[in-house]
């Protein structure tokens, strides 16, 4: 059987390998009585039982985990949660069925929330629902997870997580889920790698026996080939050794053994990624992806909504530089009503800056919001998928026009420096010819376009290597162009977080690397080992 590569979102860092445990919802049987009063009493007792059980658990733990459980206790103590269930019971419905109906309405309400934090609470309500159902039936429905296994499921409840022993490894691979869920918080606290949003986990025939979870890159490989597994295990050995040393130095600024200061910036996909993070861990934000603003189902975001989000990120950074990338839709990131459906080869199609220039009415709104946000911090704006200088020039003219218009209207604004993402080989080869305020190397696309190999196609994935001399040569060339023109060059692709490449990347002359928040500590430790 061929190995299966799935790409999701990283929710808790680290690498893990282990046997796969598929979690499926357990259904407990229960004999209901015909008497609504008895059913109501049974539900009341089950809720109290669940509440007492959690209260007992809280006594043995503290901190974040206790907060999560206290929330469940508060919800269970509130009659408003069960009121709809009691109403249905009085009409002759069995207690377990009534409770499930009532809680499923509540869960659906959270799943429909606009805010990811509220959506992530659905797993908590599922947990509350299942705990009470377990007490009603007298059967333990919390799924048991064997220590050291890779849990594959649609989603997982805090109870199921807490019931497992994570001290001997193990990881979580979810079809749905969220990095903002309580389970993700728990997984980060316990050091269990977790990847969410993998999409439907469906198998032809046999479910997988073994899985590799990369909680740094947000990928999972089911039933790996022996060679894939061997390479992964090598990476794990190196990562484990580095981890202990790394954690100590997260707040320190990065410096190589040779004394070179390297700026470490953050890549974020949404302001939620910054929650709970101390800005002191980084030298700024090197990449804010803005696609999330456009993914909601309620149409394209207006100027005020965008401004509020950009400003929130700048406020967080407390004066540190923040680079926001304009909409990079198309390719593997379709957006309803904006990108072209069924392009024959979307990676070579109307994506990134090409799409923005083709839809100036959408682009202008984003540029206006960015000019308004620019007064609140050190904002830089970056254009994705630039291939020729005229694209930068046209975008620059649009930015000037919006800035001038805002000023004429008396609205507080500033014109942020405009730089380009270097991810098309044509831009890397001719970087000097672009009048950009800075270059930021997008190593994922630069690698795939240079090597003509996609990283999610298993058969050619080994060709998709940023460490290939051809790709490194293009990076060197871009760094050299930046040096000649006196502008900054950074690298913000996944390669920045791949510590096997740190020495090679810094050898090109790069002094700025941008990675996801969870990779900061490890990268700083890797930089400290580089001799030059």
């Amino acid at each position: 059987m061929a190995e299966i590569h799935l790409i999701g979102r990283a929710a808790s860092p680290g690498l893990a390998i282990g046997p796969v445990t598929m979690l499926t919802a357990a259904v407990a049987k229960r004999t209901a009585s015909d008497d609504p009063a008895q059913e109501a009493a049974a539900l009341r007792a089950a809720i109290e039982g669940a509440r007492a059980e959690i209260a007992e658990q809280i006594k043995t733990i503290q901190g974040e985990v206790a907060d999560i459980l206290e929330f469940q206790v508060a919800m269970l103590e509130d009659d408003a949660l069960a009121d709809p269930a009691y109403g249905v019971i009085s009409e002759g419905i069995a207690a377990d069925h009534a409770w499930r109906l009532a809680l499923d309405v509540e869960i659906a309400g959270y799943r429909a929330a606009k805010d990811e934090y509220f959506r992530a609470r659905a797993a908590d309500i599922v947990d509350i629902r299942d705990r009470v159902l377990a007490h009603l039936s007298g059967v333990d429905t919390v799924p048991r997870i064997t220590g050291g296994s890779i849990v594959a499921a649609d989603d997982i409840t805090p109870s199921a997580f807490l019931a497992a022993d994570w001290s001997h490894g193990g990881a979580i691979a979810l079809a749905a889920g969220s990095p903002s869920s309580h389970v993700a918080m728990l997984a980060r606290a316990r050091g269990a790698p977790m990847v969410v949003g993998l999409g439907p986990l469906s198998w032809n025939g046999q479910p997988p026996a073994l899985a590799l979870v990369d909680g740094d890159a947000g990928t999972v490989i089911f039933d790996p080939e022996p060679e894939t597994r061997r390479l992964f295990e090598q990476r794990m050995a190196v990562a484990n050794a580095a981890q202990a040393a790394a954690d100590a130095g997260r707040l320190e600024s990065a410096r190589t053994a040779g004394g070179r200061r390297i700026a470490v910036l953050l890549n974020i996909a949404a302001p939620e990624d910054l929650a709970g993070l101390d800005p002191a861990i980084c030298d700024g934000i090197g990449l804010v992806r803005t696609e999330f603003l456009f993914e909601a189902s309620q149409g394209l975001p207006d100027e005020d909504a965008q401004y509020a989000v950009y400003r929130r990120i700048l406020d967080w950074a407390e004066g540190r530089p923040v680079t926001i990338r304009t909409l990079d839709a198309g390719g593997d990131k379709p957006i309803a009503g904006l990108t072209i459906d069924d392009e024959r080869n979307p990676f070579l199609g109307l994506r990134g800056i090409r799409l923005s220039l083709a839809r100036p009415e959408v682009f202008r709104v984003q540029l206006r919001a960015l000019c308004r946000a620019a007064v609140h911090g050190a904002l830089k704006v970056m254009l994705p998928m630039i291939a020729v200088p005229s694209e930068l020039d046209r975008a620059s003219a649009l930015l000037d026009a919006e800035f001038t218009a805002l000023r004429a209207e008396g609205i507080a604004c500033a014109r942020p420096p405009l730089g380009i993402m270097v991810e098309v080989p044509a831009a890397a080869l001719r970087a000097e010819a672009f009048g950009a305020a800075f270059y930021s190397i997008g190593s994922n696309d630069l690698t795939q376009y240079t090597m003509a190999a996609a990283r999610d196609i298993g058969a050619v994935a080994d060709l998709n290597d940023t460490g290939n001399p051809a790709v490194l040569a293009l990076i060197s060339q871009t760094v050299e162009a930046g040096r000649k023109r006196g502008v900054e060059v950074s690298l913000c692709g996944d390669a920045a977080a791949d510590t096997r490449l740190t020495t090679a990347l810094l050898a090109t002359g790069l002094t700025i690397l941008s990675v996801s928040p969870i990779a900061v500590a490890r990268l700083k430790a890797a930089i400290a080992k580089v001799r030059s």
Binding site: D67, I68, E70, F71, A74, M75, D78, A80, L81, E106, G109, A113, K114, D115, Y117, F118, R121, D124, H182, A275, G276, A308, R312
Partner: protein, 104 residues
Amino acid sequence: MHDAHASRSGETPVPLTASAVLVNKVGLHARPSVKLTQCAKGFSARIELALAADGPWTDAKSPVKVMRVKAPQGATLHFRVTGPDSKAALAAVLALVHDGFGEA
């Protein structure tokens, strides 16, 4: 950033109202909701909250109902308080919101 105006007239108790902006990072989320409802339950006054000055009003003593409001960061929370200790109750919930529920 709040405007509190108290008024008393005749027999019918006129509610005290005030508003405050949610400044903590995650809005009126799990932990903040629990804190708010615990604080509200310490008073005998009837305490309600809403996202708009004209409601719909939600019982601030019910975590289930407060969570249903799904108030995000930056939202303005309006409070309406009626009862004997309404002044103290309003001051307490406002202080909690201004303080970002101790986690801003």
